[in-house]
C-alpha cells in the first residue's frame, strides 16, 4: 500500500516535470494577480501592506484552484484512473498520494513564492516566517478540499467553473484563518492562535478528504 | 387603508419583500406540481414503450 501510494506520487511528479507548463501556469497566475493589485490600487507600500494578506491568500486560493481541474481528468481520459481504481489498493491512500503530488507541485511552490511577492507588497522581512508557515499549512487544506471537488466534477463539461462553485465556499475558513495569520505576521504580533486553527483544518482535511475523494472517484468511474 | 399600504414610509422596501417571498412560495408550489405531472407523463411514456418494445 505504501509502495503503491509512493508509485503514484512519483509518477505524478515525473509527469509534471515532463510537462512543466501545467505546473508553471498557477505560479504565473499567482504572480500576475499579486502584481496586479499594486498597479490597480496604489504605489504606497504602507497601504499595500494592509491588503497584502488578502491578496496573497486569495491569489493562492485561486491559483491552486486553477491547477486542480486537471488533477484526475487526465488519468480518467487515458484510462490510468481505472488502473488505479482496480489496483487492489485502498483507494483513499492513492487519492492522498495524488493530492500530495498536487500540493508539492502547486501548494509548495506558491508558498515559496509568497515572500518574494510579499516584498512587492511592502511586507516586512520579519513577517516571512509567519507567511511561509501559514501558507504551507493552508495550501494543504486547499489541495485536499479541491481534490474532493475535482473528483466530483470528473468528466463534467466546463468542470472548471463548477469546480470553483463547489470548492471555493468550502475553503472560506482556510482563507479567513490564513489571511488573519498573515495579517498578524505582518503586524509582528503572535500568530500561533491562527496557525493552530489552520493546522486543525489541515488535520481534519487530511483525515476526511481522502475518503470523500475515493468515494467520488468510484462513483465517477461508473 | 392607503396608510396601511404606505407602511409608515417603508412601503418601498416592505412590499417588495413580501411580494418576493410569496412569489417564492408560489414558485415552489407550481414547480413541484409541474415536476410531478411531468414525472407521471414520463412514466406513462416508458410503460408504453415497454408494451410495444422488446
Amino acid at each position: 500500500m505504501i509502495g503503491a501510494a509512493l508509485a503514484v506520487l512519483v509518477r505524478d511528479l515525473r509527469l509534471a516535470l515532463r510537462r512543466p507548463g501545467q505546473v508553471l501556469q498557477p505560479l504565473a497566475f499567482f504572480a500576475v494577480v499579486t502584481v496586479l493589485f499594486p498597479l490597480g490600487y496604489t504605489p504606497e507600500l504602507d497601504k499595500l501592506r494592509q491588503i497584502a494578506p488578502g491578496v496573497l491568500w486569495v491569489a493562492a486560493l485561486l491559483a491552486s484552484l486553477l491547477s486542480l481541474e486537471s488533477l484526475f481528468r487526465e488519468d480518467a481520459q487515458d484510462g490510468t484512473l481505472e488502473q488505479i481504481l482496480l489496483a487492489g489498493q485502498p483507494l483513499a491512500a492513492l487519492a492522498l498520494a495524488k493530492t500530495a503530488a498536487h500540493w508539492l507541485l502547486t501548494g509548495l511552490p506558491l508558498t515559496l513564492m509568497a515572500p518574494v511577492l510579499g516584498i512587492a507588497l511592502g511586507v516586512p522581512g520579519s513577517a516571512m516566517p509567519g507567511i511561509l508557515s501559514s501558507l504551507a499549512l493552508g495550501t494543504v487544506t486547499l489541495s485536499l478540499v479541491g481534490a474532493v471537488g475535482a473528483a466530483l466534477t470528473l468528466g463534467v463539461r466546463r468542470g472548471g467553473v463548477l469546480l470553483g462553485l463547489l470548492t471555493l465556499p468550502l475553503t472560506v475558513p482556510t482563507l479567513v484563518f490564513g489571511a488573519r495569520a498573515t495579517e498578524l505576521a505582518i503586524a509582528g504580533e503572535g500568530l500561533s492562535g491562527a496557525l493552530y486553527l489552520l493546522a486543525a483544518l489541515a488535520v481534519l482535511a487530511v483525515t476526511l478528504a481522502p475518503l470523500a475523494v475515493a468515494a467520488a472517484l468510484r462513483i465517477g468511474s461508473e | 387603508m392607503s396608510e396601511f399600504f404606505h407602511m409608515g414610509g417603508y412601503a418601498a422596501y416592505l412590499w417588495p419583500a413580501y411580494l418576493l417571498t410569496f412569489a417564492v412560495l408560489g414558485w415552489n408550489v407550481l414547480s413541484a406540481r409541474r415536476a410531478l405531472r411531468e414525472a407521471r407523463a414520463e412514466a406513462r411514456r416508458r410503460l408504453a414503450d415497454r408494451e410495444d418494445g422488446p
Binding site: V148, L152, T153, V156, R157, L162, L165, L166, L168, P169, L170, V172, P173, V176, F177, R180, L201, L208, A212, A215, A216, I219, G220, E222 | F4, M7, G8, G9, Y10, Y13, L14, P16, A17, Y18, L20, T21, F22, V24, L25, W27, N28, V29, S31, A32, R33, A35, L36, E38, A39, R40, E42, A43, R44, R46, L47, R50
Partner: protein
C-alpha cells in the same frame, strides 16, 4: 430491534402513496398559518418602537432564513442515508430539497437586503450572518449544479450526496470562521438577535410564520418527492397502477 419500518420507508410504492396521503395534512395547516400570520403581522402587530413598520419584514425574512438552514440539514441527512444504506428514496428526498432550499435562501437574502437599505442605509454589509447565508446559497447552487451536470441519475444521486455531506461538515466551520473574522474586525454584528424580547402580539405572528413555512416545506417536499420517486422507478409494476 425491528427494522421493517425502515425497509418500508425504502420501498418506493409505499413512500409514493404515503407522501400522497400526507400532503394535504401539511398543505392546509401551512396555508392557514401563513395567511393568519400575515394578518397578524401586517395589521394586528403594532409598529416597532424604533424601526416603525419596517420591522414587519421580519415576518417573511426570518422564516425564509430559518427554513434555508433547516432544508440544508434535511437534505444532507437524506443524502447520507441514501449513500450509506443505498436507499433510492432517501436520494429522492435530497434531490427534492435542493431547489426549495436554494429558493428560500435567496428569499432570505433579498428580503434581508430590502431590510438593510432602510435600516443600515446600504443594501449589503459584510455581516457574518449575511456572509454565512450567502455561502449557504452557494452550497445549494453547487449541489444543484453538480446534479444537473451528471446525466446518469444513480451517479448524480451519489456524487451530490458526497457533496452534501462534505458541505454539512463544513457548514459549522464556515459559520464559526466568519464570526471569528467579523469579531477581529471589531464590527459588531448588525443583526443583533438578542433584541429585547418582542411583545406577544409581535412574536406570535413570527412563530406562526415559522411553523407555517416549515409545514409548507413539508408539503412541497412531499409532492416533489413523489415526482423524484417516479423518475427513479424504471417503470416498475406499481408505477402502472399509480399513473394510469
Amino acid at each position: 430491534m425491528d427494522w421493517t419500518w425502515f425497509h418500508k420507508f425504502g420501498s418506493p410504492p409505499h413512500v409514493y402513496r404515503l407522501a400522497g396521503t400526507l400532503t394535504p395534512w401539511f398543505a392546509w395547516p401551512a396555508g392557514i398559518l401563513i395567511v393568519s400570520a400575515l394578518y397578524g403581522g401586517l395589521v394586528l402587530a403594532p409598529p416597532d418602537y424604533q424601526q416603525g413598520d419596517g420591522f414587519r419584514i421580519i415576518y417573511v425574512h426570518a422564516p425564509s432564513a430559518w427554513l434555508s438552514t433547516m432544508v440544508y440539514a434535511v437534505m444532507a441527512t437524506a443524502a447520507a442515508v441514501g449513500l450509506i444504506w443505498r436507499m433510492k428514496v432517501a436520494h429522492a428526498v435530497a434531490a427534492s430539497c435542493a431547489g426549495i432550499g436554494a429558493s428560500f435562501t435567496a428569499a432570505s437574502l433579498v428580503t434581508g437586503m430590502l431590510w438593510g437599505e432602510p435600516m443600515w442605509g446600504t443594501w449589503w454589509v459584510w455581516d457574518p450572518r449575511l456572509v454565512a447565508q450567502l455561502v449557504l446559497l452557494f452550497l445549494f447552487l453547487g449541489y444543484i449544479g453538480l446534479r444537473s451536470a451528471i446525466d446518469d441519475l444513480g451517479r448524480a444521486d451519489r456524487a451530490s450526496a458526497v457533496l452534501a455531506i462534505v458541505g454539512v461538515v463544513n457548514l459549522p466551520i464556515i459559520r464559526y470562521s466568519v464570526e471569528w473574522w467579523n469579531s477581529i474586525h471589531q464590527t459588531p454584528s448588525v443583526m443583533k438577535m438578542d433584541r429585547p424580547s418582542m411583545p406577544m402580539d409581535m412574536l406570535a405572528p413570527l412563530l406562526m410564520m415559522l411553523l407555517g413555512f416549515t409545514l409548507f416545506f413539508g408539503a412541497v417536499l412531499l409532492v416533489r418527492l413523489r415526482a423524484e420517486v417516479l423518475r427513479r422507478e424504471r417503470g416498475a409494476a406499481w408505477v402502472k397502477e399509480v399513473v394510469s
